[in-house]
Every structure is written in C-alpha cells, then in structure tokens.
Subunit: 191 residues, 2 copies
C-alpha cells in the first residue's frame, strides 16, 4: 500500500490504519513487492525538511493538480519546474486546462518524487507573464527544464507557486510529523 491511503485518511477524519504497509522504498523503479516487509524507521523532522529541500532542488518534473474552472473537474499533468529556494516556477499554455486552472485562483496541489517517497505541496499561484519575469529567472528555468516558454510559438505563461503547506512521507510510519511546512514556514529552520 502507499501511505497515501493512510495519510489521506487522516486528511478527513484522522481515521488511519496502522496495519498493512509494504516495505519502505525510495526507489520508484523497484516495485514495493521486492523490498523487505518492514519499512526503515521514520526520519526526523529536520531530516525530512532537508530531504524535501533537496528534492525540490534536484527534481525537474512534478505532478500538477488543478481544478478545471470551466467544469470543476480535477485535472492533472506533469510539468517541469524550477525551485528558487522559496517558490516553484511553472509554465504552461495560457489557455490550457492547467493554465486556466492555475490562473483561476483555485489553488494548486503538486506532487513530487516517488509514490513511496512523496513531497506534496499546497500553495497559492501568482500568474507571471513572460515579459514580467526577470530575464535571469527565465534563463534559469530554460536551463533547468530544457524548455524556454519565452521562445515558444504558443501563448505560454509562467506561474509562481508559493507553498503554504508541504508534506513529506514515505511509508505509514512517517504519517506522524509529515508536515514539513505550515502556513508558509518550514517547521524546522535550517537557517
């Protein structure tokens, strides 16, 4: 199982299940069935904050969930992003479903990493027209993602996601203390 069932359960009523659970794994390429049945001990909060920041620095793609403002239907698409240490910069076509959802003010939820080593970001979204983006930021985005929306033939926008809550967990034994950022603040400061 993924801790998702459990964590998600806690989202609603706190009704979690402590039974079951497969071995923890950080390797999304290796099916959980291949790993031992008992997960490693839960990471400390400070370690989770470090791991989360490292993942944000290292990863190039993320899963971006939005609500289609036209229908209210859930939307999901993988997008590349840049992390400046404080915000996630995304870009997609202005009139795409994700683009309209990101611009709608309805918020965004972003998943990073593997399903057994998850970083989940809830945040607010600021629309940034390409012309309003600092050239150095646009260059950095293009270098990191291999994609320069400023040179795109379509009509692309940038979207700056300001994280308000970030959760990080691997297996069910990491459900407790999965919040690494609350109200826009890391729960453990590295500074």
């Amino acid at each position: 199982m993924t801790a998702g069932e459990l964590t998600d359960g806690t989202d609603g009523t706190g009704g979690t299940d402590r039974t079951g659970g497969t071995g923890g794994t950080e390797d999304v390429c290796r099916p959980p069935a291949d790993v031992p049945g008992s997960p490693p001990p839960p990471r400390s909060t400070a370690q989770r904050v470090r791991d989360t920041r490292e993942l944000l620095r290292r990863e190039i793609d993320c899963w971006v969930a939005t609500t289609d403002p036209a229908t209210g239907a859930p939307h999901l698409v993988p997008l590349s992003f840049d992390w400046d240490g404080r915000t996630m910069l995304l870009s997609t076509a202005e009139r795409s479903v994700a683009g309209r959802g990101l611009a709608s003010g309805g918020g965004v939820r972003i998943g990073l990493g593997a399903t057994r080593d998850v970083v989940m970001v809830d945040g607010s979204v600021e629309v940034v027209p390409a012309a309003a983006l600092e050239p150095s930021e646009g260059d950095r985005f293009a270098r990191r993602t291999g994609f320069d929306p400023r040179r795109s033939s379509g009509s692309y926008l940038f979207f700056r996601v300001v994280p308000s809550r970030i959760q990080a967990w691997r297996e069910e034994n990491e459900l407790r203390g999965r919040d690494v950022m609350l109200a826009g603040r890391w729960v453990v400061s590295e500074e």
Copy 2:
C-alpha cells in the same frame, strides 16, 4: 521539459511548442539531464496500447487527482490500485478528502508511471462498499497492494474507476496520437 507543457497546451488551444524537449527516458530514477538530447522515435499506437496495458498490470501506485467537494480545491494523493483488465480499483478512507472527492461524482484523473512516460486516465467512479465487493476482488487487491481495507480499523471504501479516456506519451514527439482509449474503447484492439 516534460511533454506535459506541450500536451497540456494542446488541451486548451492546440498551441504546442515543438522546440526544446529533453531526451526520452522510461526510467524515472534517471534525471532527464543524463540522457541524450534527442528522444527515441514515437511509438506506434498499437505499441502504446500494449505499453499502457502493461503499465496498468505492473504498477501498484498511482497519483489520484480529485476535486474537494467542500471547497472545489484540487486534491492529489498517491494511492495503490488493482487493475482487472478493464477498471482500476482504489480504496481510501470514506471521509478523507480523496474519498469524498471520488464519491462526489466529479470524476477523477489518474496519473501513472513516470513524468516522461506518462499514462493519464480520465474516468468515472463507482463507489463500492467493502461488503459489496466480491471477496476474490478484495483478496486480489490486498495481495497486490499489501493493504486490505476490509480489515482496516478506519472506515474505508473501494472505488472502481471506469476509464473513459486514456492518454500515453513520453516526450513531445509522442503528443500526436497520445490517445490510446477514447469513449471507453482502446483505439487499437489487441483482441
């Protein structure tokens, strides 16, 4: 970049960008930066249908995007699933955000695989109380996922996702022909 920007772009206006793009990779564990700059040739539709079915057979976890019926906000969580060859069986806590979203009739969008080897499933959701699930189905779900919601201490429901549209793409050269299922039918039948 992920083809997501492009594909997502086409969701809206068809305004896609043919520049950029990193090397194709099926290995989510290997950062795109490490792979050659030119993606492999696009797969045939028949191959994509085969690959998609294999991914549904092989994968245990998926990214489940729903809309929070209480707020309209996007929700995303990794959940384990079972694939019976026709539908995806999920389970989560009845009163969790995902559980309430899945039960709301607002639909679901599910992402499978890697961000550079995506299978995206749009479908309708049927709520299946644990007592109404065929015991053999529940056993199969428990075997595959390592989690048996029927024995859970919390109040869990099963959710049967009936795919209506499935898309499969790797890099931007696979945007054309990314639909492998439309209106609930594989575009290329293997039978």
